[in-house]
């Protein structure tokens, strides 16, 4: 038997998850830091197409899933912008479009390894309403688990699914123990354009009312499944004074920061959204609505993209003050979060 404990890069973990999900095809265009997914997939002997740009990758992916193939793409930054064209078609036609978005710095070509600046783009890009699932894993084992889940949720519920990560996590080589993840059953793909009957399947409508009906149907479905999909980690939140909110690998640093802060006598807790879309609103409201919570500190490697989502979705009656730690395009280490929160001087009992 293969040893379940392995030392792998994030890209290797993703490729393995895609293979284990039963994906048969990848469409992609080279871009750092997502290129190793394309080369890793090719090296594993799987079918692929290197397209002329990300737009083509996105639409070829739409075509493949219409044909019934479990397929995916991987991109980053400027490529993620172009990918929104195909994603918009996928959203309009409810296609199981699976993509990994490895955030790099922006705007423009920015930097090539890390940021958390593609949150709004990934959640709400395109000319639609953001009806897509967005998962933000914080470590290699979550990257594996939520990639598997993204394929399943996309094909089960028929919404696009995005694994939102970054080059730090994809390039990081770390220890992952597959035995601890356990078995995950795959949802089978099906031919969306049938083989034995005829469909005429529009994505453009003559009348506003027709489009409205389509969006309303999708919205109702999205809300119905939101409870099943929405996921988060809450850590030391019971009666916390300070609630940290962070996602992805910053969420991992924030978790460590909670331990450090508690050692200093600061009563901190963490709400870490695992799905950014849909957000685990009920859980957030329950935690943030505790009387003990005096401050909600949103920590992120962007100028407030996560904060926008949190403020938008949190129950309006929650009156804890917001504070923001924002390093656009920069990594955020545990020590920096500890210093920032300690600097707020809202030590337990002093408020």
């Amino acid at each position: 038997m293969v040893n379940s404990r392995q030392f792998l890069t994030g890209s290797e973990v993703f490729v393995r998850a895609a293979i284990d999900s039963g994906a048969g095809f990848m469409f992609g265009y080279p871009i750092t830091p997502a290129s190793e997914i394309l080369s890793g997939w090719i090296n594993s002997g799987k079918k692929y197409l290197q397209t002329e740009d990300e737009i083509a990758a996105g639409f070829a992916l739409c075509g493949a899933v219409l044909g019934g193939e479990k397929a995916f793409t991987a991109t980053s930054g400027p490529g993620n912008i172009l990918m929104q064209d195909g994603l918009s078609m996928a959203e309009g036609m409810r296609l199981p479009f699976v993509m990994v978005a490895a955030q790099r710095g922006g705007p423009s070509s920015g930097t090539v390894i890390y940021s958390q600046q593609e949150v709004i783009l990934s959640c709400f890009g395109g000319n639609g309403e953001g009806m897509r699932f967005v998962y933000s894993p914080s470590n290699l084992s979550e990257l594996y688990k939520f990639t598997r889940k993204a394929f399943n949720d996309a094909w089960h519920y028929r919404f696009p699914a995005i694994i939102l990560t970054d080059g730090y996590l994809l390039k990081t080589k770390g220890v992952i123990d597959f035995a601890k993840i356990g078995e995950i059953k795959n949802i089978s793909p099906r031919a969306l354009v049938p083989k034995d009957s005829v469909v005429h399947w529009p994505n453009i409508y003559t009348f506003e009312e027709e489009l409205y009906q389509e969006i309303k149907l999708a919205k109702d479905d999205f809300e119905k499944v939101a409870e099943d999909i929405a996921d988060c980690e809450s850590y030391q939140t019971d009666k916390a004074d300070i609630l940290l909110v962070a996602h992805g690998i910053v969420g991992a640093a924030a978790k460590e920061a909670v331990d450090e802060l508690r050692k200093k006598g600061i009563n901190a807790g963490l709400f870490r959204p695992i799905t950014l879309r849909p957000l685990a609103r009920k859980k957030l409201d329950k935690i943030a609505g505790q009387e003990s919570v005096k401050k909600i500190v949103v920590v992120e490697s962007s100028l407030g993209q996560l904060a926008r989502i949190i403020r938008d979705q949190i129950a309006p009656e929650i009156c804890a003050e917001f504070a923001y730690m924002q390093y656009p395009g920069l990594g955020i280490e545990t020590e920096a979060i500890v210093d920032f929160v300690a600097g707020l001087r809202v030590v337990s009992g002093e408020i």
């Binding site: 090539v112 730090y168 080589k173 770390g174 220890v175 991992a252 978790k255 990594g331």
Partner: protein, 162 residues
């Protein structure tokens, strides 16, 4: 136990090669290991950084703001890592060894192997990995290359370096 190592050198000097070996050796010895490479846009010539964390429990965040050990392989890398050069950080800097290495006729392309040995010595003392394991991994990487004996000699020289 948690030990943070930052290795810095010029692109092409083999920073990632020795990082891979150190990490693999610690992994094989049952430790949690995290390695994140960081380099610029250039395929060659820029500064190549390697952040390594080794611990006896799961590592949550792959980067750190201050290493315990800093390995510097070039002048350029020395400049790039000034922010980490604090008293609390154990430094292994090419500047301190260069004369000796020249005297012993160690070729610049093997400087990374020399530092691999110095690092291995520290990690062996801390029981993070075994000397044999590092040598085995080094041989796996270079054993079939023409200059293997040369590399092996440099490695042994560094292990016994005082």
């Amino acid at each position: 136990m948690l030990i943070k190592i930052l290795i810095a050198g010029d692109g092409g000097q083999g920073v990632q090669t020795i990082s891979d070996i150190i990490c693999q050796a610690a992994f094989e010895n049952g430790f949690f290991v995290n390695h994140i490479p960081n380099y610029g846009l250039e395929q060659r010539g820029g500064v190549s950084l390697s952040y390594i964390t080794i611990g006896d429990k799961e590592i949550t965040y792959p980067k750190f703001s201050m290493p315990d050990i800093l390995v510097v392989l070039s002048k350029q890398a020395d400049n790039r890592t000034k922010q980490y050069q604090k008293e609390s950080v154990k430094m292994l800097n090419i500047e301190d060894y260069k004369k000796d290495l020249e005297k012993q006729s160690v070729k610049p392309q093997n400087y990374n192997i020399f530092f691999l040995g110095l690092l291995a010595k520290i990690l062996v003392e801390k029981k993070i990995c075994g000397e044999d394991c590092v040598l085995k991994l080094l041989e796996k990487k270079f054993g079939k290359k023409e200059n293997w004996e040369e590399k092996k000699n440099v490695f042994e020289l560094s292990l016994n370096y005082v």
